[in-house]
Symmetry: C2
Subunit: 212 residues, 2 copies
């Protein structure tokens, strides 16, 4: 999370402007339980046909094979670039180059073979309208699952929670006083989650007032 000082009213954004465009966006997402093949280091992401055709910018089918570059942005405003290709026999949509980096960065993992269970987390990706003439936002919920083997707990800070709060507040106070940017790191939650909720729905239900 990056916090920046507000210099004018124009820098204040409402939740509605924050990328998710309300009802216009309804239904424009898909959720897929990741398979072993999707998360293996060996291959890419097999995109369900309907999702690709409905949500992705249309491919130029005169190309052999049809290919395009998809630039997506996650909730932390990190951008990810994927090669989107339509190939194979029978033909199918795949994300190849760039996908494995995303898998490892997000610690995505397939579920056990028996249950093929993936716990969906709160990761949301919007496909940037880079290759469309009409801006088009796509929401993609990516599944996240804890590795089944017991993970080493991240070395938590030797500071107490109170000390950390104080430190963070001090940093924020200093930045505010000087009009400079500062960054707050937080631990992404590592517990399992049973549901994936579209960001807009979450915000609507949680916030009663706008945030800036």
């Amino acid at each position: 999370m990056s916090l920046q000082p507000v210099n004018s009213e124009k820098d204040v954004y409402s939740v509605q402007d924050f990328g998710i465009k309300g009802s216009k966006h309804t239904g424009e997402f898909f959720c897929k339980i990741l398979t072993a093949s999707d998360t293996s280091t060996h291959g890419g992401f097999s995109v369900p046909r309907k999702a690709a055709e409905k949500l992705f910018p249309q491919l130029d089918f005169s190309m052999q094979p049809p290919t395009q570059e998809l630039v997506v942005r996650d909730l932390h405003d990190n951008t990810w670039t994927f090669r989107h290709i339509y190939r194979g026999q029978p033909k199918r949509h795949l994300l190849t180059t760039g996908w494995s980096m995303f898998v490892s960065a997000k610690k995505l993992a397939a579920g056990a073979n028996i249950f093929n269970l993936i716990v969906v987390s709160n990761l949301v990706i919007r496909v940037l309208p880079q290759l469309c003439s009409v801006p088009k936002y796509v929401t993609l919920l990516a599944g996240v699952r804890r590795a089944s083997r017991q993970q080493k707990a991240l070395p938590s800070s030797v500071l107490s929670a109170d000390s950390m709060h104080i430190g963070i507040l001090a940093a924020a106070g200093h930045a505010a006083a000087n009009g400079s940017q500062f960054t707050v790191f937080y631990n992404p939650r590592t517990c399992r989650s049973e549901f994936g909720v579209p960001l807009a729905k979450y915000r609507k239900s949680v916030y009663s007032t706008q945030i800036s």
Copy 2:
């Protein structure tokens, strides 16, 4: 083993004529302990450089990449075709197409990761002089290892060993009486073997007389 009736003196071959050309052949073989990569379904066989350069027909290095087809014959006179290619960074000799069929047919397997142990068996391959102007025979000892998991014993015949001998002799006798061909199937040994011995050496030490 295929046995055929002898019809004339010209059909009698000495051991020397049986493919292995005595001292001319000395040293023209190599032995390699197969790695996991060599036997995986994923790739080919990584040929030790010295072996490839000394024993294989020379590649045409004007090709990009240099490639040739190697036709080899095993002791049972089965022929196997391998694509021999020199590629990668750094450059190396590989057998690709055809190798995996050979691996599965011969039940080749890498050793345990810990020991990388392969038991060398009595498989000998000669590279046919197909692509050389001067006939050139190459001996290659391929490693064989039992799968470490307990294998189902092959269903042995319900016949006793004595009964089988009698049956085989009867078949042979009938074929000999009628001047027809017959075939004896035998179980390739499945036990581990600590050593690989060149065929010529083995024959020299075991047989005091020629066989036809």
